[in-house]
């Protein structure tokens, strides 16, 4: 039988023939055995036998017609989302042996719908990075070009999805960490509106910016997973209680969007920093849209030039606070304590077990929160953040979506960007505005330059996921790229 490439295909096949689920698991593990040594998407992978056992139980549910929405889907989960009794490391030496005693809310919801967690994926340490090179363990390779980064920080999740090592994956997005690797692996990645998906169990990097979201091979798959993981959670005070569009996102992608779709291009997101080939792909998408009755107009939001510094002040400030708890006392990296004071033990643990980028962000964050600098940095950044949000909302009062290249550059080679933090941070220029403003944003495969994928980002109004997904599906069909399968695994399809 044909290897299913989307959740809907898998569902159809197992409905017809429940026993196919076992075959699907076997074939996925065959791909993993072949490809994983080269791609290295997983930090922790569940044993084939264990997953087969899970699949068998779900198979019976399918036969009894009691199976959930994601019956038998093999979901790869970013390693900063707590999974009960399954090691959760944040790709850090600090948590290399940490086994959470509880499940994140999204994990509970996935399991409730009979998804199978296949493993935990690689990432930049504590989600700090845009290339997955900052993992304390090993870098993940881009399945489209093994010499290049898969983007980050959810690079493992995106690579696993692109290389058919999982049905779909879950990532987290603080400044672009879902959309960047989605763009670089020709997958679809959604950062939901802030408050749509519970953060309970997401190991915090910057609480006010981040959301958990899906990385899939199609927009329809995104809608199914969003249906499962979104919704109010009493354990997360930032999770919104009411939203008219909750519920059937699956339904949103089944019909064409109504009327003329108005697309805003923000000048500041397509200017100097954007590499020529990326611009070429973006422009060809735009002309395709225009010839299909989209209304496209360029606008200017000059305040966006402050988005990156604003983002890095807020993100590092929150990170310095969130990461204070890692002191090696209750869990995590441990050093012999005999004869030492607390402070010496804390300093030793934090010096050894945090990587360089994490230490850099903690120091910057501690600085911007310290007395005398708080007003100048954190407070000012909070004000700029509100201004940027207001400006983007104003644009979205008139337009249905804002479109931009997801990433300003093609996937860099290893070591190319990571050596210079400022160059590394500049990769996030188009993704951070959605985090600063809480808006939903999606990255779709836009095209290729040679074998290298480029992404199209669409940003929508607060909680307009239904419309955003409908437009995305429409564009996805128009471009005809998804599901995009990299050369290395094409023989399995």
């Amino acid at each position: 039988m044909k290897l299913p490439l989307t959740i809907n295909e898998l569902k159809e096949l197992v409905q017809q023939e429940p026993d196919f689920l076992l075959e699907y698991v076997e074939r996925t593990y065959d791909i993993i055995s072949d490809i994983e040594p080269r791609v290295r998407a997983f930090i922790t992978l569940k044993a084939r036998e264990r997953v087969l056992k899970n699949a068998e139980a779900i198979m019976n549910k399918i036969k009894n017609k009691t199976a959930g929405l994601l019956a038998g889907c093999l979901i790869a989960v970013k390693d900063n989302i707590a999974t009960k009794e399954l090691r959760t490391t944040c790709a850090s030496k600090m948590l290399q042996d940490f086994i959470p005693p509880y499940n994140a809310t999204v994990i509970e919801r996935l399991l409730r719908e009979d998804a199978i967690i296949i493993g935990k994926t690689n990432m930049d340490e504590f989600a700090m990075g845009s290339t997955t090179e900052n993992s304390a363990f090993f870098p993940t390779k881009n399945p489209w070009d093994i010499s290049r980064v898969p983007g980050g920080s959810s690079g493992g999740s995106a690579a696993a999805t692109a290389a058919l090592e999982a049905t779909a994956s879950i990532g987290s997005d603080t400044g672009g960490s879902i959309r960047a690797p989605a763009a670089y692996t020709a997958t679809v990645g959604l950062k939901p509106s802030y408050g749509l998906v519970s953060r309970y169990g997401l190991i915090a990097y910057a609480n006010s910016l981040e959301q958990i979201g899906p990385i899939c091979r199609s927009v329809s798959d995104i809608a199914i997973i969003l249906d499962v993981i979104s919704g109010f959670d009493p354990r997360d005070s930032t999770c919104v209680r009411k939203c008219p569009q909750y519920g059937s996102y699956t339904g949103c992608v089944e019909k064409q969007p109504e009327g003329k779709i108005r697309v805003a291009i923000i000048k500041e997101m397509v200017s100097e920093g954007v590499e020529a080939p990326v611009k070429t792909v973006f422009n060809s998408v735009l002309s395709k849209l225009e010839s299909n009755d989209f209304y496209v107009e360029e606008v200017s939001v000059p305040e966006l030039k402050y988005a990156l510094p604003t983002y890095y002040i807020i993100a590092t400030a929150e990170a310095s606070s969130n990461l204070a708890r890692y002191d090696g006392l209750r869990y995590g990296y441990h050093v012999p304590v005999e004869g030492k004071s607390w402070y010496d033990v804390f300093s030793e643990v934090r010096s050894i077990a945090f990587g360089e980028e994490v230490r850099r962000r903690i120091l910057v964050g501690s600085f911007v929160l310290s007395a005398g600098y708080y007003d100048e940095y954190y407070l000012k950044a909070s004000k700029v953040r509100r201004i940027i949000r207001d400006k983007l909302l104003k644009v979205l009062d008139i337009f249905d979506v804002i479109a931009s290249p997801t990433m300003p550059i093609l996937p860099p080679k290893f070591g190319e960007r990571i050596a210079d933090p400022l160059k590394l941070y500049a990769m996030d220029v188009n993704t951070v505005p959605a985090n600063l403003s809480g808006l939903p944003a999606i990255s779709l495969p836009a095209g290729f330059i040679g074998s290298l994928p480029a992404g199209l980002q669409l940003i929508g109004y607060m909680f307009s996921e239904c419309k955003l997904l409908a437009i995305s599906k429409f564009i996805e069909d128009l471009l005809g790229i998804a599901p995009a399968i990299p050369e290395v695994v094409r023989s399995y399809v």
Partner: protein, 485 residues
Amino acid sequence: MSEGIKIKIGLEIHVQITSLRTKLFCPCSSDYRGKPPNSNVCPVCLGLPGALPVVNKEAVREALKVALALNSRISNMLVFTRKHYFYPDLPKNYQISQYDGVGSLPIAKGGYIKIEDDSLSKVVRIRRINIEEDPGRITYPTGSMVTSPYTLIDYNRSGIALLEIVTEPDLESPREARIFIDKLTSILEHLGVTNPELEGAVRVDANISIEGGERVEIKNIGSPKEVEKALQYEIARQTAIVKSGGKVARETRHWDKNRGVTISSRAKELEEDYRYFPDPDLPPIPITNELIDEVRRSLPELPNERIKRFMSEYKLSRYLAHVIVIRSKVLADAFESAVRKCGNADTIASILVNELLRWVDECHFTIEEGLARLTAERLCKLVQYLKERKLSSKLVKEYVRRVVIEDIDPDELITKGYVSIMDFGYLSNIVDEVFRENPKAVEDAKKNPKAINYLVGQVMKKTKGKADPQITYELIVRRLRENAS
């Protein structure tokens, strides 16, 4: 002790909201006492990666009650702020608290408490009220950080809801500080917010400075009772420094109650940088006027009103009413239930204040323990026997002592013959004896009727307090008259 030197004392009082069922930000039980170490915990109060706090709405109501009772201005937003410092009892290495600064806000600011005593009546201003989480508890196996080979940490207390009530430096003596704390505790107890009898439910830090010196913070004063002692010690210490020409340095000291001294814990030349910023996991919640009004309507009778009512309804003296109400709500409740049973408010009040409290304090019982023995029923029996003159007021004192200490019923003492001696013949003989042995006192008594009491006392001594005082008095007066004629 320190006459003439101007003293300024400000207090930071941490009060556990013991009325809550759960902790401030998680569903763990608020009743952590006596449980095995680290058994009353969850991912949230252990600060495990990924866990998120959700505020306990009841805690906010309790805080609003206190704010209203202390006449404070309530903020229109509930904002929580992270206060960062590394300490092993703090699982996240920051405390979720509140702060009065840019972007942050305490739940209430301002307010006052009026304190009174025979020689004192003043208004003590409140600076602010914070809601915050309690840290865990550190235990040193030898009792001292210096000599212990290791440290034990119990997080059962971690995340318990606390109110931090901060005063302006309006207090001018250790005694005023104690009176203030007693009054505050009584208000909190009447509000039903806290049970001050629970160990660690009320904890005080004190800031004290004497004229010309820097502010010294005394931390960790376990109970309100220790505050007066710690402050007295500190004033003596600082005064001695000033008198010998030295200067009191700004620092934090710890109260060591076993040795009765304060110990320097760290120099505080620099203000510690807690890197306060609003907690992004807890978005601000509006505090509506409707909520405030609802809480206001639910406020119970507060100590000041109750004292006034005791004076008008039961005709108690200001002193008795004040002591009964301020000492403990439980005591005031016991008083009212006994009076409902058998009247005689004044007698019951003085038995409780003069006798019960004396033995409770001397034996280190809690008031509840004392009242469990001196029940309303037993109190009423004593009142009845006193009226019937089966017991003298002096014997009643003895009865209360034995009831409280031995948990014995008054009737049992009566059966044992422990009653007033009213036998004229027997008492006459004793009076004769006393007259023979004290000729000088007899002569005095003839001239000065006040000296008669001495003779009465001698009869009491010989009868171990059992002589009926009125009969004894009459016998002595009669005898004196006979002598004179």
